[in-house]
Amino acid sequence: MNNTLHGPASSVSVMLEGINLSFGKTRVLKGIDLQIRSGEFFTFLGPSGCGKTTLLRLIAGFESAQTGRVIIGDREMSYLPPWRRNLGMVFQSYALWPHMTIRKNVAFGLEERRVPYTEINRRVDKTLDLVGLLDLADRRPSQLSGGQQQRVALARTIVIEPQVLLLDEPLSNLDAKLRVQMRRELRELQRKLSLTTIFVTHDQEEANTTSDRIAVINNGVVEQVGTPMDLYDRPANLFVANFLGVANVMAGKMEEEDGKIFFRSADGVVTVPIAEGDQGPCSIVFRPQNLTVCPKDASPIPGTMQMAGKIEQMEFLGGVVRYQVAVGSYSLLVDEPHRLGEQVMPDGTPVTLSLNREQIITLGAI
């Protein structure tokens, strides 16, 4: 992949204000407010049926919201039909037209814009070269592999130099290895073109590795917006904590004693001093890799809090050994890196779990 098509000036920001969308009686999008910055790789992440694809289609113009505004660049586009919005959308099935060659497929958008013939050829060639498919230009879509089709779909949209690139789960039809390769290429391409991109997926690994920022969507509501690491380390609620990675959750309440604030778990077994927080019911969250497990009589690690427990089960995940440890009424997951030669602790071993207090996330009541 080589030269850029154009400079960063042509990509724009996207704003969604107060979007409410219902299909009949079903509310699909509830009060969505989002700002996507120019040149950003932004992901809508969420489980199936959460409304992320509907949101993308709304931006593209294939759905209309009952209330709210869609503002792209500085123009309100809420009422513009799809063919007037100058956005590039890659569909999950790629939607390549089988009765046209690759070249004709890619040239389509330019033909609609009445670009002169010679110019069309030049730009099509350049874009096909950019995605590495120039020598397949005269084939038909059915003669191409899945990965190649996906690149054609991409080429078809970027050749028109859209303001925003919209990608609807573009990698879900590819096998695992190809998916990893394609998402890297996608990211590289996007950086090169500085194109504002909105990416829809349900796969958190995809979201984490490619995005500048992610919006986690659940049931038509934006749960949290932030960088991948932000969302992982500081989830705003339980849904986000559980969706991005594995989480240990303890419900309980904050109490005050001698001017210090404590978290006491619901079964009373675990108490943790907390730096600051409001009193009342809440929960704490901590990640499996932040816990350390050692046999009961081993010396405690300084600066950490201890919890006593017993190993229930062990899962071997290759690079990591995941222990399920019973602590009070809870089953906590602990990840220990697996190194050659290290012994695995058998089921039933009494153990001590250590946790650094700074690695505890406090959330409001569940």
């Binding site: 590039g88 089988p98 389509f108």
Partner: protein, 575 residues
């Protein structure tokens, strides 16, 4: 695999199914004698010099040297092409409406699809003449109001008009289905890239619907090209099919021209079917995506709704015209040079029952026999093809199915040529060709492909394990077929029987060739005979109504049985 290995396997398969092998041989014999040989005879006869009996292309040369025949050839092509064009012109807007808009009239459009199909074109031809002819109702009104006369039914126009009205629903259904199958993402991605409206339809939607359309259109062309009844009844003789009939009827089976024309009919038929197959080959444009296929539908604005309804009502009026005309004709006492009949009466119906009840009894007799033959053959062939590995079973299937490409007229001519010299043993001086059983056999051959398809589909629904468990418990092959397979196939078999049944009422091509005396004729023949004279038109129309009722009921029943069969799909998986 070596030849001897293959031979050894074939022989062991014969040993395994001795009964079925015998059945296969019998069926092959039947098809050979009653399909392959007559058609082959016809084709060879075209290449034979009548004087010397040697191979020659002289007959074809004569054909092209004769102005009348040249004219007939081009007329047939012209009529076929125009019928397809006009039928398509009617279909396009309707298909567009149903696929693009949320339109409640879509149900009406679907039923528009069925109505013409229950009445074969020739039945309504004379009625159309009464309505749209030079002195028909419509032109009389036009003369009175505007002083103009539109030649709807003059010469070839009449044939084109009747045929396109009859076949347009077939193309409509084809086109609608092709449009339904288009993945919505195809359209949306084009919209995303700036395309919309008619441009979108032209660049994306139409090309994707094209293969389905071409397949349907070529079949319509084929049927129009081969149709004998409509031109005959409209007195249009300068077309290929009527010419073949007239030559043989007036000059006799020695005349080579009848055979030459038959060759053309068969070639065109095969060509059209090949074109249809080619259009669909490798073009599986239908994709399945979540969110459903089909194009995005939008609500209609008020003026669009009004326009749509107007167009639909106009087309409905045209489509129902032959039926309406037929009703008027059958109940009208005297109807000429007037917009409507002078008075109404039921004496035509009385007449057909009193004077010529044999038309109807013959129809029932022939249909039942042909139907039985078809389902027996169909079930046997389906079983042999799907359940055994007998050598040559695919050929059995192909030959039986090939009957669909042979026009009825050609089969009739073939029988005349092949069987005229042989007499029926127990009826003195009665050539086999003119015995009424020949009509039954010809009908069964003609309809065998459809019955075979129905039986094959039905058998595919029955899992092999159902038979194997019966055999495991001691039932032999024939007992298993009788007690297990056939009852489970019953719905499909019945559907096949009903399809075959409806044919005798409406098939005219071979019937005209093979009927020697009026009392042997079925409904279709009766209609033809009555319509020859002005006085008989009423009775002919009454017979026509009877034919429509028969076909209509059969179509209804076969739909019901197909529905029921699909609902009980849980009984077995496909093999």
């Amino acid at each position: 695999m070596t030849i001897s290995e293959w031979g050894g396997e074939a022989i062991s398969e014969f040993r395994k199914h001795p009964g079925l092998t015998a059945v296969m041989l019998l069926i092959s014999l039947f098809l050979l004698v009653f399909l392959v040989i007559p058609v082959a005879q016809v084709i060879f006869a075209a290449f034979l010099d009548t004087a010397t009996g040697e191979f020659t292309l002289l007959n074809f040369k004569d054909f092209f040297n004769t102005a009348l025949f040249r004219e007939s050839f081009w007329n047939s092509m012209y009529v076929g092409g125009m019928a397809v064009l006009i039928a398509s012109a009617f279909s396009m807007p309707l298909a567009y409406f149903t696929s693009r808009f949320e339109f409640r009239g879509a149900v009406i459009i679907q039923s528009l699809g069925i109505i013409p199909l229950i009445m074969p074109p020739f039945v309504g031809a004379v009625a159309m003449l009464m309505l749209f002819g030079r002195n028909g109702s419509v032109n009389l009104l036009l003369e009175e109001w505007f002083g103009i006369n539109i030649p709807f039914m003059e010469g070839l126009n009449g044939v084109i008009f009747v045929q396109s009205l009859h076949y347009f629903p077939f193309i409509l259904i084809n086109l609608s289905a092709a449009l339904q199958n288009i993945d919505r993402a195809m359209e949306e991605s084009a919209q995303n890239l700036g395309c919309s409206g008619m441009r979108l339809f032209r660049r994306i939607v139409l090309p994707l619907a094209m293969p389905g359309y071409v397949a349907g259109a070529s079949l319509v062309f084929l049927k129009v090209f081969d149709d004998l009844g409509t031109p005959l009844l409209l007195n249009v003789n300068n077309m290929l099919a009527p010419q073949a009939y007239l030559r043989i009827a007036s000059i006799g089976i020695k005349d080579p021209m009848g055979y030459v024309i038959s060759v053309f009919l068969v070639v065109i038929a095969l060509g059209s079917m090949w074109l249809a197959m080619l259009a669909l080959k490798g073009k599986d444009y239908a994709t399945v995506q979540k969110g459903g296929g089909g194009l995005a539908k939008r609500r209609m604005r008020l003026w669009e709704k009004v326009l749509a309804w107007i167009i639909i009502l106009m087309i409905m009026a045209l489509v129902l015209a032959p039926h309406f005309g037929l009703l008027l004709l059958s109940f009208g006492s005297i109807w000429s040079f007037s917009v409507l009949p002078d008075a109404f009466t039921i004496k035509h119906f009385a007449r057909i029952f009193a004077e010529t009840p044999e038309y109807m009894t013959n129809t029932v007799l022939y249909s039942s026999l042909a139907g039985i033959i078809d389902v027996v053959l169909g079930t046997a062939i389906a079983y042999i093809v799907l359940r055994t590995k007998l050598v040559g079973r695919q050929w059995l299937d192909y030959i039986a199915m090939s009957a669909v490409a042979i026009p009825g007229l050609v089969i009739g001519i073939g029988y005349l040529r092949t069987f005229f010299d042989y007499n029926v043993p127990w009826l003195e001086d009665q050539p086999l060709a003119t015995w009424w059983m020949a009509i039954v056999i010809a009908l069964s051959i003609r309809r065998l492909p459809y019955a075979l398809r129905a039986c094959t589909a039905a058998l595919q629904q029955v899992s092999v394990s159902l038979e194997e468990s019966a055999e495991n418990l001691g039932a032999g092959k024939f007992t298993t077929v009788r007690r297990i397979v056939v009852p489970l196939m019953a719905g499909g078999i019945l559907a096949g029987f009903i399809t075959s049944f409806a044919t005798a009422a409406v098939e005219l091509g071979m019937t005209l060739m093979l009927v020697s005396k009026n009392s042997d004729g079925p409904l279709s023949y009766g209609i033809y005979v009555y319509m020859q004279s002005a006085a008989g038109r009423g009775a002919g129309a009454a017979l026509g109504i009877a034919a429509v009722v028969v076909v209509g009921l059969c179509t209804l029943f076969s739909h019901i049985f197909v529905e029921r069969r699909q609902r009980t799909l849980g009984m077995g998986q496909t093999n």
